[in-house]
């Protein structure tokens, strides 16, 4: 009799078979519906492909680095589709190798600062009290200095170079991530399912990693994608000021800086690198928005 009732109950519940869909598939399904986000993704894929395949499209030493004074300052034409700069280097080659630099540095920067930020933010938010105070006051000190100024002073102190640039950008990004992680954890840690997890005997570290961070990941991912975009701008900015990537290496910001002297008569020298920055940043921004909508399971229907 006992088994029968349980069985009947289960029949009542088994009204319809719900179509199974893996989590990634359903995220992709929701992401696909967003046209603008898809545009961002396509742009980013093109950008990534181009920067990965850069050696196939152009010769780094011959086209992007070697100076060729005979062909300097040519308007875009058949041989040089983006034209050449004041040293006769092919602008197209420099743009695609510049994409490599911008994308890789900003991705590493965000990966580093995001991991540190998540650790600091979640520890501060979860434990609260004195730990929270100490950690967040340290973060406040970092936040008190404008981000760009902070990056400039770190690079100025350590000297220009890729490694130092990454360090400078990471340090100035950490407090922002720590803050956003902490605030989303504060809203989640008092929810009943966290208490329920505690009542199951789950360890603190596991509660943070499995129950709290995944529920807070929406805003964190959005912030991360938007920050990649911002980091691209900052790297270009630093390079524009001569504090970022060193001279012969192609970088969008330093290309703008080199082109600005010829801007009046050869506007393509600044328009093309500028457009590259605009497209990369826009693609990431659109993607960030799309990801936010797609990642939040509470918006699922």
């Amino acid at each position: 009799m006992t088994d029968n009732t349980v069985l009947n109950n289960s029949k009542a519940v088994r009204k319809s078979k719900v179509k199974k869909r893996s989590q990634l598939k359903s995220i992709w399904f929701r992401y696909k519906k967003n046209k603008l986000a898809m545009l961002g993704l396509v742009l980013l894929i093109i950008l990534t492909l181009v920067s990965i395949c850069a050696p196939l499209l152009a010769n780094y030493n011959e086209d992007a680095i070697r100076q060729d004074m005979k062909n300097r300052l040519q308007f875009p034409n058949k041989d040089h589709i983006f034209g050449t700069d004041q040293y006769g280097r092919d602008l197209f080659a420099r743009i695609i190798f510049g994409a490599r630099v911008s994308l890789s540095i900003s991705l590493i920067t965000i990966a580093v600062s995001l991991s540190i930020g998540i650790i600091i933010g979640s520890v501060a938010g979860f434990y609260g009290g004195k730990i929270d105070d100490v950690l967040m006051r340290i973060m406040d000190v970092f936040l008190a200095i404008p981000q760009m100024l902070m990056a400039i002073s770190i690079v100025a102190a350590l000297g220009p170079g890729t490694g130092n640039l990454i360090a400078a950008m990471s340090i100035s990004n950490v407090p922002r991530f720590a803050r956003i992680v902490r605030s989303s954890i504060l809203t989640i840690k008092d929810q009943e399912f966290v208490e329920a997890a505690k009542a199951c005997g789950t360890r603190d570290g596991r509660i943070i990693a499995k129950h709290i961070v995944p529920n807070a990941i929406g805003p964190i991912i959005v912030q991360a994608t938007l920050n990649i975009a911002e980091t691209i701008i900052s790297i270009s900015g630093l390079s524009f000021l001569g504090l970022g990537i060193k001279a012969p290496t192609p970088e969008w910001g330093s290309m703008l800086s080199e082109g600005k002297e010829q801007m009046r008569y050869y506007p393509y020298l600044v328009i093309i690198p500028g457009m590259a920055i605009v497209f990369a940043v826009m693609a990431l921004n659109l993607m960030g928005d799309g990801l936010r909508d797609a990642l939040d399971p509470r918006l699922k229907n």
Binding site: T5, V18, G201, K210, N215, I217, P297
Partner: protein, 321 residues
Amino acid sequence: MADKLLEIKDLNVIYETDESTVYAVNGLNLSINEGETLGLVGETGAGKTTTALSIMKLLPEKIGLIKKGEIILDDINVTNATEHDMRLLRGDTVSMIFQDPMTSLNPTLTVGEQIAEVLELHKKDMNKEQVQKRVEEILELVGLPAERKSEYPHQFSGGMKQRVVIAIALACEPKLLLADEPTTALDVTIQAQVLEMMKELKDKLNTAMLLITHDLGVVAETCDRVAIMYAGEIIELGTVEDIFNGNKHHPYTDGLFGSLPDLTKKTRRLSPIEGLMPDPTDLPSGCPFHTRCNKCMDICKTEKPKITVDNSHMIKCHLFK
């Protein structure tokens, strides 16, 4: 008589905030035998949930304190167990069902993953396939089809979510189940289903249960013994027969039954208990109920009543001596 699984002796719990000290539980004595269901009944704020949280040692940090007393669960003294020992105990020996199934499941994990988590934590010798098999088994046991384990909580209705919560609580076959108003958030038809199922599972797994509720109908339906709680104390304790059919009662219990509609009697109005629960930051002297009691005597105002025991029936009142 079966072995005592849980014994609470003279438990005092306070909540200490900047402004005031709340005396939530005051000298509570309680015991549960293996396989037994004890109903804990009382008004809102009587300290029922606090008692359950003390057993789990999950009182809010820095604010909730066990001031005095002992809780012995399965031969382990919970009151001075370390956090590490408690973690091993929670979910394995004792687990808890929370009031609201809507919020006690993690929205980002599938229900299968959430059931598997308890097993991964406490049954370390199980490999992945065994865990998955057990997850399916336990889902079938609570009346959900096993193939729905890969779905997310938002794809379930309230009653089904409560079934999942019960599945998580029972996955490790705990000896004691603390059910904190498990049916309050559900509608009446689902309530009956869930209660029926809990009763069956309890008998099947021989789990003892502390059922916290303010629904006397639910108590009569499911419990072996009943404890009536008022202002952090147990004022009457007995078997379901003692409480529902006996003729000697604490005036508060009489009041509780008086405020229920009775189909067999003809009355114009229900007779609720006048007044409110005393302020737990400032409890009255003597019997805590004397301010609302209609049989209040002089002695009630000054002296704490002693316990009168009559077989399985215990009353804490000056009327019976």
